[in-house]
């Protein structure tokens, strides 16, 4: 193994954290903007008769069924990811590399689980992207959300790599990383409510 020469440069600690916060805020507007347009389209949709609930907005095509269990599980998984990411911060602050590493691994795993849930939802719903306004917008918004989650997974990978490669000087990176997952959870909660619950 290589023996490390002394004195790594101190990293600018706040920048990563603040940068992540700004990215999260910007991404909030990305998701929020899309949800706003989504809401407008739904509000503008005409009414149709539903056999169960009387007149409802003719927005989501009749034959599409939202797998709510999968969507709920996805939401729960997001909350678990947050716990894992925070666990990594907690451990790293206490110089517990083993647990921090494990927590980061769990973060990655649970993040992948959310991705898996999303793929499942897509395949279950079987929405035809060419089928109409709801269909194309559904893919656009869930696709963007998925992209943000993939970015989060990449962030986790980078944070893990940096933490394991550089050690405890990178605690601020882990905090920033956790912050991003908090944001993702909040953003998905909004998407979950608007797209999967309100529909």
């Amino acid at each position: 193994m290589l023996t490390l020469p002394p004195a790594p440069q101190p990293a600018p600690k706040r920048q990563v954290f603040v940068g992540t916060a700004l990215v999260s805020a910007a991404a909030t507007m990305l998701v929020g903007g899309m949800l706003a347009i989504w809401s407008q389209f739904r509000a503008d949709a005409p009414f149709r008769e539903s056999p169960r609930r009387g007149p409802i907005k003719d927005w989501m095509p009749k034959d599409i069924v939202v797998p709510e269990v999968a969507a709920n599980m996805m939401l729960i998984a997001f909350f678990v990811v947050c716990v894992m990411a925070q666990w990594a911060v907690w451990s790293a602050k206490r110089n517990d590399r083993q647990h921090a590493g494990m927590a980061l691994g769990m973060t990655l795993l649970m993040g992948l689980a959310t991705l898996n849930a999303q793929l499942f939802i897509w395949s279950q719903m079987g929405v035809d992207v060419r089928g109409g306004a709801f269909n194309s917008m559904f893919y656009a918004i869930t696709g963007v959300m998925t992209f943000l989650v993939i970015a989060g997974l990449v962030y986790t990978a980078v944070a893990t790599f940096r933490y394991l490669g550089r050690g405890n000087s990178d605690v601020p990176t882990l905090s920033a990383h956790a912050l991003y997952w908090y944001f993702l959870t909040a953003a998905f909660s909004a998407v979950w409510f608007v797209v999967y619950v309100q529909k």
């Binding site: 954290f17 509000a43 790599f161």
Partner: protein, 382 residues
């Protein structure tokens, strides 16, 4: 102090957005877009305000001299790096791929992943220690096992592709000459470098670089120019597929029938001897046969071997089919399967499915060689 300058701005903007959202909601009933948009905007601004408060604007007190050295303002810039540029170009490739073809899109995504990976690793390596030399070393140690094979493979691909394009464009004889010439040239240069051992590395590198560029350039040029005529014609003729007996084409690939799958399932060899005799060698029958049996409805492969001095083809006739064209008009066409013309010593296989028994046909089923009198093999289909 919790309310810093920037958080004043951000909270203010947040409050403004909130107010705007509320006012919008009240004033424009049914216009959800603005309300939802402003609500999210308010959330984002207030979140940022909280972060600004939490980090105290990133302020470093002038009196806190201990913190000065580690403050962000005192950090030197990172060095130059190709990866930001590469990432942007990869994003462009991805976008172009999104529009044009999945292949390009995949290349773009792969490039994007590679660039971001390199970016991450070089960022890490640059801060591995205070020694640049050492940092470069750890980076190479980590990445070269991935980078070098990929780069080598790409280089090899360029060379091989360029070579193949050049030789596909040249005619066979010229190709041989060029190949020999290039070999000699490489040998000559190699010998030169070997003799002149103190040759400047840069000069040698430059020569190799120029040669590579020239090769790649010629490759691209010849690829754009297209393959030599025979090859294009042969490709149009599609000698891998049987195409009936209407035309006799010149360029057939003698090796087409040497595909393992075909050759391993030959039902019979039909051989035209030098003196114009035609006989068959069929599995299960000893010696030379003048009649063969083909099982009905089974794809059966028959190999024609031409040992005569002229180019010949084999024709397997298995009756005729009558089409009703309506209005009492019928069209009769012969059912035939043929090889293309096979040169002396060449062989070609033809696969045929005969659905009807020979007993149901008015004419006997035969294998013949046009132009050779009396060359005939009887074919029986039960």
């Amino acid at each position: 102090m919790m309310i810093t300058t920037s958080s004043k701005l951000l909270y203010g903007l947040g409050a403004g957005s909130l107010a705007a959202g509320f006012v919008w909601f009240v004033a424009n009933e049914g216009q959800q877009l603005g309300s939802v948009m402003f609500a999210f905007l308010a959330v984002a601004f207030i979140f940022l305000g909280a972060i600004a408060s939490y980090t105290r604007d990133g302020h470093v007190l002038s009196t806190d001299t201990a913190a000065h050295a580690s403050s962000a303002a005192s950090q030197k810039s990172v060095g130059r790096s190709l990866w930001p540029f590469g990432t942007a170009v990869s994003a462009g490739v991805t976008v172009v791929g999104l529009i044009s073809s999945p292949g390009i899109f995949k290349v773009g995504v792969a490039l994007l992943i590679a660039m971001l990976g390199e970016w991450m690793i070089s960022n890490w390596a640059e801060r591995a220690s205070s020694s640049n030399e050492y940092n470069t070393k750890v980076r190479d140690y980590l990445v070269h096992p991935l980078e070098l094979p990929v780069a080598g493979a790409l280089l090899l691909a360029v060379i091989v592709l360029s070579f193949s394009r050049v030789f596909l464009a040249l005619s066979k004889s010229v190709g041989a000459i060029v190949f020999a010439g290039m070999g000699a040239l490489i040998l000559f240069f190699g010998a030169l470098i070997a003799v002149k051992r103190q040759a400047n590395r840069r000069v040698v590198g430059a020569i190799l670089g120029v040669l590579l560029l020239a090769l790649a350039g010629t490759g691209v040029a010849t690829a754009l120019d297209g393959e030599r005529e025979q090859l294009t014609e042969a490709a149009e003729e599609d000698h891998f597929a049987h195409r009936g007996c209407t035309e006799e084409k010149e360029y057939s690939d003698k090796k087409a029938s040497r595909a393992v799958s075909m050759k391993s399932s030959i039902l019979a060899n039909v051989i035209l001897t030098e003196d114009g005799q035609l006989y068959a060698e069929a599995t299960g029958y000893p010696g030379q046969q003048s009649a063969i049996t083909i099982q009905r409805s089974n794809p059966s492969t028959i190999l024609f071997v031409n040992e005569s001095s002229e180019a010949r083809r084999m024709v397997l006739s298995y009756g005729k089919v009558v089409e009703d064209l309506g209005d009492g008009v019928e069209r009769e066409s012969a059912l035939e399967a043929c090889t293309s013309k096979v040169e002396k010593g060449g062989q070609q296989a033809v696969t045929v499915v005969v659905p009807k028994p020979s007993s149901a046909s008015d004419e006997p089923f035969t294998i013949t060689v046009p132009g050779v009198e009396g060359a005939k093999i009887d074919v029986f289909v039960p």
